[in-house]
Amino acid sequence: MSYMDYVRQFKLPHSWCPGCGIGAIMQAIVRAFDALGWKPEDIAFITGIGCSGRMSTYINANTMHTTHGRPLAFATGVKLARPDKHVVVVSGDGDALAIGGNHFIHAARRNIDIKLIIINNSVYGMTGGQVSPTTPQLFRTQTTPYGNIEPNFDVVKLAIGAGATFVARESVTRPRNLEKLIEKSFQHKGFSVVEAISNCHINLGRRNKLKDQITMLRWINDRIIPKNVAAKKSPEELGDKIVLGLFHEDNERKEYNELYEEIILKARGEK
């Protein structure tokens, strides 16, 4: 049970709703820490605002609960100041892709060695269930009472387009796969993004005929499809299914701090 060393056990039980996937994602993260043998005091764990943002209270490491959308910017400061430490950011779909969208694409562009986990429950849960950039079209939310007309981001395509060098997606209903993927992303040197599909039955599901955790997880299981299985299907068969797997891994591109170290050498070499 040594992964519990990475949990502030005196803060449990946590405040997430019964059946909320965030708890399982947190378990996958601390299992990954344990598998890699990272020391808690060498980890900076930084979160934004929202239900996902609350995770920093419960992780036993150097933690920060920052402002909405900005954990990546704080993390950039931490990583640049201490490139030898492990910097992990957990952010929700609204936090990372709406208000934090700018920081998302620039952290990816820089390829700075920060490990981002986006907990995508397709809603702004903490504030009562408003539409987010990943809410399925036609879904009812507090701010789309007649149905959502907006199309979604494809987080994987966005991350790859912005320059992230490790991009993957998994589901909270496949926690072992999620853990392995997170472990792999932690080992990657460069900007990594793992999108974890999660459930918010209380504030999203409830308005869309998925009013409890079991029903909503069944719905997620019906929508997900692993990459290798999806490859054999036609686009019509795939429809709007969510494809899971590792989509992009580039180990050649130099990481930001590596490049900046070269700058320091250059500057010091100059008169």
């Binding site: 049970m1 519990m4 449990l12 996937g21 708890g23 079991i214």
Partner: protein, 95 residues
Amino acid sequence: MSNVIEELNLEIRTRRKKPYNKGAKIIINPELCKSCALCVFVCPTGVLEMVENKRNIYNYSAEAVAPEYCTLCQFCVYQCPDFAIVVEKEEGGEK
């Protein structure tokens, strides 16, 4: 109990094909368990069910009613959002 939970329990019972008798000990921490039923839902062999529990605010909670079917796969442990369930082997203790 709600319809969903009753239906879940019925489905669970159909998962019990043959007992493995691995001497599994499934311990659920009542201080951390939020009765979400995810462990019941993911168990491939129907070890757990939601049972009535007047001491719980939801009036039901998860219980390992058929531990002989446990394969020690740990799916319930991985899925539990609350770190509330532990699965061990009788002698010594394995996690």
